[in-house]
Structures are given as structure tokens and as C-alpha cells.
Symmetry: C2
Subunit: 562 residues, 2 copies
């Protein structure tokens, strides 16, 4: 071995050692499911120092109107259609587009070295990628803001540390699953009185190329766990961002390629497959036999198509559903109203955990409805609060959701608009595409079709219903349309005890009686399981053993000892 | 709680305690992968006492020409087409046939209690089932003999303890995967300076009904792991045996229903779905939305159909492939020839691990070919040995495989028959359907089509080929046609080192230089992984975490502490 190879081995060993404590802590956290993170999700300069915010903003601005060159193979053109929801102007960033076949060939060519690498090294490299992304998180926050429309604080936390934590969580499970396989064994037993001794070797073998298809509104949150789960288990990854939200993922891929190269691996283990709305490339990648794992986050329409058509390869999906709140009884109206209003206002309800339907017991309906509307108004009428919570509307499509709902209501009787959707004036970005929630009051039993369909945008239905009926209907919707987060408020423990098995049976994760400072739709990595896989909201859980255990396979050999 | 409920709880607790040490030993064994079993796979009366063999035979004989009534719901008729390969006479056993819809409804009705049961209890019940099946193993041996054609000793061991061990192995993984999920946690962190404390509960929820489709030649070996994996994780199971090999599975279902009833559960958690060759019922069950898990063992044809069409549910398959032996060089000819001859003679090559193609280096070809033929002759010409090793030919289909091969050979030049297939005279059963292996010599490069197709029966191709080319072709066949067991003989460690990565890349489990008392195609539960999932021989591995981890899902609820 020459000197440079030795130095590389030493650097690799040092990398494993450097991240070892973090990995063990993550493994401990997914076991205890207590609160833990190696990151801070506050952008405070007390934590990060005075220079990082400005440097991050400058790094983002330096990207604008340039070509984001990743040095990938097989470039056949350039694309780039991103428009900032805060300025409504194009970012002007051009992304070289690689021929999908070139990316696949490069991934396959890179696979053998990656397969042969110690999985602890692969995990350490993913941890290094995570740490560097955390280091660049102010830049990432601006990137996410200006493609997705998230507020600065949400982009910083939710698309930064909270998302990276989901990635580390996947690494913890990958480590557990792979460490569970003994690398070798000696087997001795007698056959027909004759002693036999065999040395056995068990080799972890990846499946093939992993394809990660990202959503537009929260691109990093699902990308990290999927990418890290596939990479850790030895599979090269091609990341296909949504054509209107490429920049954050391009930064991620850039960091991956930089770290891989630095530690002597082929950067083509992680590549970016860009496309346009007019000429999507996802299906071509999905159909290629070299792709053996598909992770998809996005619309129920395309996710459902994949779920109905993909065979012979692993498919992990997270789509969306109809999230419900059932308010049976409350000790105090305002804290509950505030909790629901804040969750419905966060990122203008463009989240997979946003509530869409709030069932309220008849005796509470008028008071609670008025309080919820009042709490939404309190946010919407304070531009600084609105900017921090609601952010911007990512695309025209979410505006259309509101328009279509408004049109559907106009034709109906027995449906009342309690609060009109209207823009708020963003204090920093006068041209921001904003919209505060439309709030609609409905009698249960009528108009179920109006609120039973997922409406991905700032629309909230308040439904007057007996709580028992409400739980039944909510869980029917969960089973038929999917649900990622369900919420229940009741002061009656018997009612809660009767209701919880129904939520379990529908595979609906449930938050009970939560008010106060924590967002009720906040899902904590290492502690909260996200998506059950038991209803149409997706088949993958972030994160459990099932999310990683089948991404690698085991090949054995055995021979007589000695 | 009344007295009988208390007694039931006590009996259930005692059951968990009774099987606890066995479960922990199984968990330890799958970790170390050393040799272990709670069973003995020898039928010796020194182990089992003098009475069991006769009682088992009598129990089997008492079944003949009767109706095997399991007390299942929705009976719509009776079927039964089993013919003993040893007597070539019908067994005359009639099986009440239940309407598939009635079995599904009953399974769904039984699910909630099973879901609610402690998973340690579900595992203990499966262990109890295994122990009772072991207790009835002499009866089972006769049942397997007279539907599958296995010899008495193979039926006793391979379809008894060795199969039960695969079931316990699956239970060990199920325990590991479910214990990995914390049942509850307390989560505390500050949000915006406000301390938040949440109690979180994580509930394991089964997917739905598990369907287990069994093969005809080795019905119990794959049934136990699939049944136990689904049952342990909370899923009711419908077992669909092959119409010509129902009896062993009917006995299994009988024991399951007896144990479930005894411990206060609905027997319809395990039911038998019987059908006929003319009117198969599998697809109707596969297509039903209540079935959420399908375990299939059988032909590549139907297995491939399932792999190409089943979406939205879990599918585990084991089909078959073209198993190869590559003989590059040997220290001694005879031990290798004997090892290959025995593996090719065992159960007349009606096993998924039977070698089909033996590549022999040109300088060794004549000597090794003659030695292999000689060793097969030595078995075939000794009726007692032949009876113990080769058993009988299960069905006409395996006779046709030989006929078709013989016909294909007649039309070709450059292919020589080294040994004709011919019956041997079974010492106990003069009417037994027997056939000893056809051995064919072939030049590599020509006639690949002849031996590249799986031929499920006593046909062995000896192919003259340079070992390097042989490995390449063998692994191409593994990738294209599937392989469950591959074998390599070489005294050249450099050659072995160069070859092993090729086997790994093709997902081919490899046995190197094995001779002596152990059958080279013996796969030991807890130690040998069976099927890699990386080639067309199936997608499921017996057993790893992936075999169990996605059979259950996790549903959580959380609420403020206190």
C-alpha cells in the first residue's frame, strides 16, 4: 500500500471515530424515543455566531442567475424554472441536465467500491454530509424559502436540523439493521456421527440504484432519510427534485459529492436528475431495471400511480391525506382554538401534517369556531407574525385550491364562510404570494365530499358533529383518503379510551389535548413515527426498521474450517 | 375479572414463561449463527422412546379414507386429490372446502383480539404450536412421505425439526423487530422557552390477513416461517396448500386451531383454504383487499406472475432457479464426486437446493464425470440407500421433465447421456414411483438452452468448461434464472478469491469445497440464510429482519404528561 492509500485509510478511520458518539446517541434516542438532537434548530447568533446569517444569505444570492454545475456526466442541456414565492421573480439558476442513462451508468459503475466499503464508513460519510449541511444551514434556509415559500424561521429549523435529524434517525436504524447481521460464524455439528466444522461469511449486498423523488413544499425533510438509508446500505442514489424546487437538493447533492470525493469515493454515487414540468423524467428512472429502490414524496396522484404499478423493486411513499381534529370537550376554549389556528396557519397549511377538517361538538361549535377564526385573524393581522408563521404560497396550485373551494361553496346551502382567504402584506417582501386561511363552517353529513378530499392549501373546514360520529367519520376518511396526523381534544377519559382503538385500527397517529408552545403538528425525529403505512397517506414510516431492513440483502458463503 | 378469566391469564403467563428460554436461545442463535436447535432431527427410538414411531404411523393410517374436519366456517363442499407417490393409490382423505370469503370474514373478525394480545404471548403460542408439531412428528413424517414423496428419514428431519427450526428462526426475528419498538416514552423539550412534556405510546398494528401459499414438494419448510412471522406480528393467516399435498398442512392448521382455542383465542386466526388443480383458489385470495401479506413458495411461473402483478401489499416469494456446481480443481476426486452425487440424488433432485448443472474443468472432466456417475450408481443400485436418499417422484410432472430432457437430447449432437434415468425397486413399496438421475454430458457454449432452464426433477448436466468461464456463465444464469444454492470446488485460493465477488454480485449463496457427511445442500436454520432476494429465485430471505419488520406497523399517540 503506498503512502496516499495509507493516509486515505487513516482519514476514513478518523471519520468513523469522529462521528461515532453522534451515531451511538442517535441509536440510543430511537430506542428510548426521548428528545435528542446534535443540532440546534434556532437561528440565533448566540448559537451560530454573528457572521453565519450574512454569509449564508450572501452564498444564496451568489447562486442567483448562475449555472449550478455539479460536474455530472452526460450533460445534454440546461433547465431551471424556479420562481421565488416571496418575490414572484425567477431565481434564474440554470441546472445542467444529465441524460438519465448516463446517471444510471455512472451510479452502477460506482457501486462496487461503495458495496465493498465498511458500512460503518458509509454511515460516517453520511454523518459528515449532515454536519456540513448543518454548517451551511443559513444558506439552505434562504434556498428553501425562495423555492418552497417557507418562512425564514421554518426553513431554518424544519428544513434544516429537523430534517437532518430525520436523516440521522434513518442512519441509526440502518446501523442497527446491518450490525444485526453477524459478519461471520463458525458452525459445528455432527452429521451421521461425523463432526463437521464450517466457516461462514455473511456479506451485505445493496439492491441497486436508489431513486429519491422529492416534493416541492418540503424538499429536504424526506430526502435526507431516503438518501441516507439507501447510501448507508450501499446503494448509489439519484435524486430527482421537483422542477420548481431544485436549489435545496442541488446544494445537498453538491455536499454529498464533495464529501465522497474527499474520502476517495466516486462522486457519482449521488447525482441530481433535473427536469421540467413539461418534460418530467421520473417515470423513465422508475422504470429502469437498474433502479431497485424508489423513495417518493409528493402528490397522492403520482404516489398512488407508483403504488399501483411498481413491482419487483422496493417502493417507499409518503403522499398526503385528510388530517382531522375532533373537539369533543375542552377545559378552556382559547388554548385549543389557538393550537388549531396555529397548526392551520403554519406554512399556510401546505404541510402533510396540517389539519383540514375540525369536527366540533354542537354545544361548543359557535364558541370554538369564533375562537379559531379569532386566533387566525390575530396571526394574519400581525404582518410580522404572519410572515414568520404563514410564509408564502408556493405555487399557483395552492391558490387554485382556495378558489375552487370558494366556487364549490357558492353553489351550496348550509355552508358558511366564517373567514375569507386573503393575502397579508409581507413586511420584507411586498410582492410575496401570500394567502391566509379560508375558514368554512359545515354541518356533518352534508357536504362530506367538500372536505373529504385533500385540499393542499390554506383551507380549513369546521364541521358541527357529535364527537362519536366525528371520530367514526374521521377514521373512515383516514382509511379511504389517508391521514398523517390526527388530533383529538376531550376532557372525558372514557371518550378518549373508546376513541383510541379506532385511531389505531385506521393507522392514524394521534395527538391528544395538546396546547401550548409546541406546534401540535410538529413531528420530532427519534421520537415521533411519521406515517404508519396503514392508510393511503403512504407506505413508509420515518423511521423504523422496515424503512431500512430490506434496502440491503445478505449473501453468504461457507466452507470447511481450516 | 371472574375466575375463569384469571385462570386464562395465568395459563397465558405460564405459557410465555415456559417457552421463554427457547425463544432467547433462538434469538442468541440467529445472532451468533452457531449450530443450535431445541429439536432432534433423528427418528431414533433412543431419543423418542419405543412407542412414538408406531403411534405416528397409526395416526397417519387412521386419517386415510376419512374426512379431515377442522370445524371451519362457510363449508361449501369437499375436495381431496392426494395420491401417495409410494403406493400410487389415492389417500382418500376428504377436506371440507370453505368459501374463501367466509375464511376472510372469519379472519378479520378474529383480528382485533389477536392485535390486542401481547406479542410475547403470540410468540409463545407459536412456540407451543411448534412443540406440539414436534410431538406429532412421526405422524407428520408419514403424511409428508405420502403426499410429497420424501423418504421417511428426510420427511422426519427435513419436513420436521429442520422446518420447525426455520419457524422458530422467524419468531426470533419477529421478537427482535417488535422488541425494538419502545412501547412508550416521555418526551420533554422546551419550545420557545416553554417546557413541554408528552407521554407517547407506540402500538404495534398488524397489516391484515396473511396468505401463505405452500409448495407441493416441501410443504412445511416454508410454511412455518411464513405462518409464524405473520401470526407473531398480529396477522391472522389463511394457508393454501398445494392441492396434491394438503395433509401435512391440514395437520399444522389443526394444531394451530387447537392451541389457539385452548388459550382463549378464535381458532379462525388460522384456517385452511383447500382447492383442486382444476379450480384453483389462490388468485381470488391474493386479489382480496383483506389479504395484506402474501407468502408464496412454488413454481417460478406463478411466483413470477405474483411478482409482476401484486401491488399495495407485502409479497414474499421463494421459487427456484438453476443451481450450479463449478469444479475447478480438487485434491481428491471421489469425495467431491460423492458430495455432488448425493446432493443430486437427494429426493431425486426435487429440491430448491438441488444442483442441476456441474461445470467441470476440461482436464478433470472424464475422471470426475465417471466418478459422479459411479457414485450415483452406488446409491441407485442399493435399494435401501436409494429408498433413504431418493425417496419417490412426487408427480407425473417430474417424470415428464426427464422425458422432455431425453427427447431434447435425442435431436442434438455433442450431447451424451452418461447415465440413463431408471426406476429403482423400493424395498417397502413395490409400487413406488421412483426414478434415479439422468446424467448428461455437454460442451459449454453449445446447448446452454438445454441446461439453463430449471428442470425440477432428476436431471443432472455435466458441462465441460474452463472454470473461469464456468463461473461467469453460472452467475449469468443466477442473475437471469435465479439461484438458491451454488457450489464451488477449487484448491486454488486465488481462484476462489477472484470468484467469490462474482457470486456476491449475483446474489448467489455459495458453498465451497464441502465434502463429507453433511449434505452440501443442507441449509441450517439460525445459521444459513436461504434465498438472497437478489436474483429471480425469490425475494424473501429465511430469515432476516426484512422478513418480519414490515409485517407490522407502528401507530402512535401522544398527549401532555399528567
Amino acid at each position: 500500500m503506498d503512502g496516499s492509500a495509507t493516509r486515505l485509510d487513516e482519514r476514513r478511520a478518523a471519520l468513523i471515530a469522529r462521528h461515532s458518539a453522534t451515531l451511538e446517541s442517535a441509536i440510543r434516542a430511537v430506542g428510548t424515543r426521548e428528545s435528542w438532537s446534535p443540532f440546534s434548530d434556532s437561528p440565533s447568533t448566540k448559537i451560530h455566531g454573528p457572521d453565519k446569517p450574512g454569509a449564508g444569505k450572501a452564498a444564496f444570492e451568489a447562486r442567483l442567475a448562475t449555472t449550478f454545475d455539479l460536474g455530472q456526466p452526460g450533460v445534454i442541456g440546461e433547465v431551471g424554472e424556479e420562481v421565488s414565492p416571496f418575490t414572484q421573480k425567477p431565481l434564474g439558476i440554470r441546472y445542467p441536465q444529465s441524460d438519465p442513462d448516463a446517471l444510471l451508468s455512472a451510479a452502477v459503475a460506482a457501486l462496487p467500491d461503495w458495496r465493498a466499503a465498511d458500512f460503518e464508513l458509509r454511515i460516517a460519510l453520511c454523518l459528515e454530509i449532515a454536519m456540513r449541511l448543518y454548517d451551511r444551514n443559513f444558506e439552505m434556509a434562504h434556498a428553501v424559502m425562495h423555492v418552497a415559500g417557507q418562512s425564514y424561521t421554518q426553513a431554518f429549523s424544519g428544513s434544516g436540523p429537523n430534517a437532518l435529524d430525520r436523516g440521522l434517525e434513518a442512519l441509526a436504524y440502518a446501523a442497527k439493521a446491518m450490525r444485526d447481521v453477524a459478519p461471520s460464524a463458525t458452525y459445528t455439528r455432527a452429521f451421521a456421527g461425523e463432526p463437521v466444522a464450517l466457516d461462514k461469511t455473511y456479506v451485505l449486498v445493496p439492491r441497486g440504484v436508489g431513486l429519491v423523488i422529492c416534493c416541492a413544499s418540503f424538499p429536504t425533510w424526506n430526502a435526507y432519510p431516503a438518501m441516507f438509508a439507501s447510501l448507508a446500505t450501499g446503494n448509489p442514489v439519484i435524486v430527482k427534485p421537483h422542477p420548481i424546487a431544485i436549489l435545496p437538493i442541488a446544494i445537498v447533492v453538491e455536499v454529498c459529492r464533495e464529501v465522497l470525493t474527499e474520502f476517495g469515493f466516486d462522486p457519482n454515487l449521488v447525482t441530481l436528475a433535473v427536469d421540467t414540468l413539461a418534460e418530467p423524467v421520473a417515470q423513465r428512472l422508475v422504470d429502469d431495471p437498474r433502479v431497485q429502490i424508489v423513495d417518493f414524496t409528493g402528490s397522492p396522484r403520482y404516489g398512488g400511480h407508483l403504488e399501483r404499478t411498481v413491482t419487483g423493486k422496493l417502493l417507499f411513499t409518503e403522499t398526503a391525506g385528510v388530517n382531522t381534529v375532533v373537539i369533543e370537550s375542552v377545559a378552556e376554549v382559547e388554548p385549543v382554538a389557538r393550537a388549531v389556528a396555529r397548526a392551520s396557519s403554519l406554512f399556510s397549511a401546505q404541510m402533510c401534517t396540517s389539519p383540514q377538517v375540525v369536527y366540533i361538538a354542537p354545544d361548543l361549535f359557535d364558541t370554538m369556531s369564533a375562537a379559531i377564526v379569532g386566533q387566525i385573524d390575530a396571526i394574519a393581522d400581525d404582518p410580522a407574525q404572519a410572515a414568520g408563521i404563514m410564509g408564502a404560497i408556493q405555487g399557483e396550485v395552492s391558490l387554485r385550491v382556495v378558489e375552487e373551494t370558494r366556487a364549490a361553496i357558492r353553489e351550496r346551502s348550509g355552508v358558511r364562510v366564517l373567514r375569507e382567504a386573503r393575502p397579508y402584506a409581507h413586511p420584507q417582501f411586498p410582492d410575496a404570494r401570500t394567502l391566509t386561511p379560508l375558514v368554512v363552517a359545515v354541518e356533518r353529513g352534508e357536504h362530506v365530499d367538500l372536505y373529504a378530499e385533500e385540499r393542499f392549501g390554506p383551507v380549513l373546514f369546521l364541521v358541527k358533529a357529535e364527537a362519536g360520529d366525528a371520530v367514526m367519520e374521521a377514521m373512515r376518511l383516514a382509511r379511504e383518503r389517508g391521514s398523517i396526523s390526527s388530533y383529538l381534544y376531550s376532557t372525558d377519559e372514557d371518550f378518549i379510551d373508546r376513541a383510541t382503538p379506532l385511531y389505531e385500527a385506521a393507522g392514524a397517529n394521534l395527538t391528544i389535548n395538546l396546547t401550548g408552545a409546541m406546534w401540535i403538528n410538529f413531528a420530532a425525529a427519534y421520537s415521533d413515527y411519521h406515517v404508519t403505512g396503514l392508510n393511503p397517506a403512504g407506505n413508509a414510516c420515518l423511521a423504523d426498521l422496515a424503512f431500512v431492513a430490506s434496502r440491503f440483502r445478505i449473501v453468504q458463503r461457507r466452507r470447511p474450517t481450516g
